[in-house]
Symmetry: C2
Subunit: 218 residues, 2 copies
């Protein structure tokens, strides 16, 4: 089978090479035909967590992707808010995807009552636009307001509680609506504690990117 | 990587072994980690093409799947109408998917204006339930009223014309809303003639089934 070179864009400034590469390594583990190289935007140490930080990131992402995309078969914007994704899809001739649309895509396989957890006050806009009234509940776990909070004491417990609450309202599936939740590896912890399935952002991105690359062959 | 054994259910009675296995062989080509075995329902030589034939097929599919599922890691109901899929999802402890939900899932990656072609008078119910007002146009190509009509003279031309018409209304993507269109291999012909992407039912099924099997590892 063909191998594909994928650029992974982190929308948080990460100076530690190991942390920078966590999403890329996960993508390669899930779909070994994808080779990744990871980039991050500058000067945004708390990532994207509200409209202001989203809007600040968009031009940075567009500039970064346009500088590097020619060496790749596809670009993953590894963020559930899908910042700059619509614009880049129009401008580039290779697949560009965001975590939000990929999570939404996979979620509908499980049913039409979808729960979402995330770090913002509301459901990420892109997920809301796609799933509309299929979203039965959104929760921002207690004390988690940006991607760094996930790793603080009590963070995992708050996420588990939020998921339990979503399960209790009768959702068919839970979307982890922030790619920082993949970095923290919460998916493994959660899936053992819940009766309903959970969709991980980086897993969703990897699935859809491989599909788009693979589809080109046929 | 793990290999998974997948049961493929054709909802049309097929006595020719080669034709019976076309979807399974395509699935194995797209995702070589999936091994397939194909079954078909009895006494339904024109497949599913309206409400009556859909309702006739449902109990046959349920009976067939319940007799064989224990030997498999997942079951694909290879029909865009997703007959019996919701019921089987509830009843079985392995992934069960239908072409309709998989097509819908992948389509939203391309935008929110989705065109569909199919063999019934209306959009397959399952696709309509999922995509709702994202469907901008449905066309039943001229003189194509069931899965055998696709192969008749003028069939491919009618399908091409329908797709061109969907493109002309500004759709972002076209769903091939009948798995018989995969059997006939129309995807290859179409993608060369259109500016917008086309999603093939069997490709969509294979992508989602592999994702569901693969997800269990992590």
């Amino acid at each position: 089978m063909n191998k594909y070179n994928i650029a992974v864009i982190r929308v948080v400034t990460l100076e530690d090479e190991h942390i920078l590469n966590i999403h890329g390594k996960l993508i390669e583990k899930y779909y070994p035909n994808l080779n990744t190289k990871t980039f991050c935007i500058e000067n945004q140490y708390k990532g994207i967590y509200d409209d202001k930080s989203h809007n600040e990131a968009v031009p940075k992402i567009i500039k970064l992707v346009k500088a590097i995309y020619k060496d790749f078969d596809g670009v993953i914007i590894s963020c559930a808010g899908d910042p700059a994704v619509k614009q880049l899809k129009k401008d580039l001739n290779i697949p560009v995807i965001g975590a939000g649309e990929c999570l939404s895509s996979l979620s509908i396989i499980y049913g039409n009552k979808i729960g979402v957890i995330g770090i913002g006050e509301n459901t990420p806009k892109s997920i809301k636009e796609i799933l509309e009234n299929k979203i039965v509940k959104y929760i921002q776990p207690k004390n988690i307001k940006n991607t760094t909070d996930i790793h603080k004491e009590g963070g995992m417990e708050a996420i588990k509680n939020a998921c339990k609450e979503i399960e209790s309202v009768g959702a068919d599936v839970i979307i982890l609506g922030c790619s920082g939740l993949s970095t923290a590896g919460v998916f493994k912890h959660l899936s053992k504690n819940l009766l309903i399935p959970v969709i991980d952002p980086v897993f969703a991105e990897a699935t859809i990117m491989f599909a788009l690359c693979n589809k080109k062959l046929y």
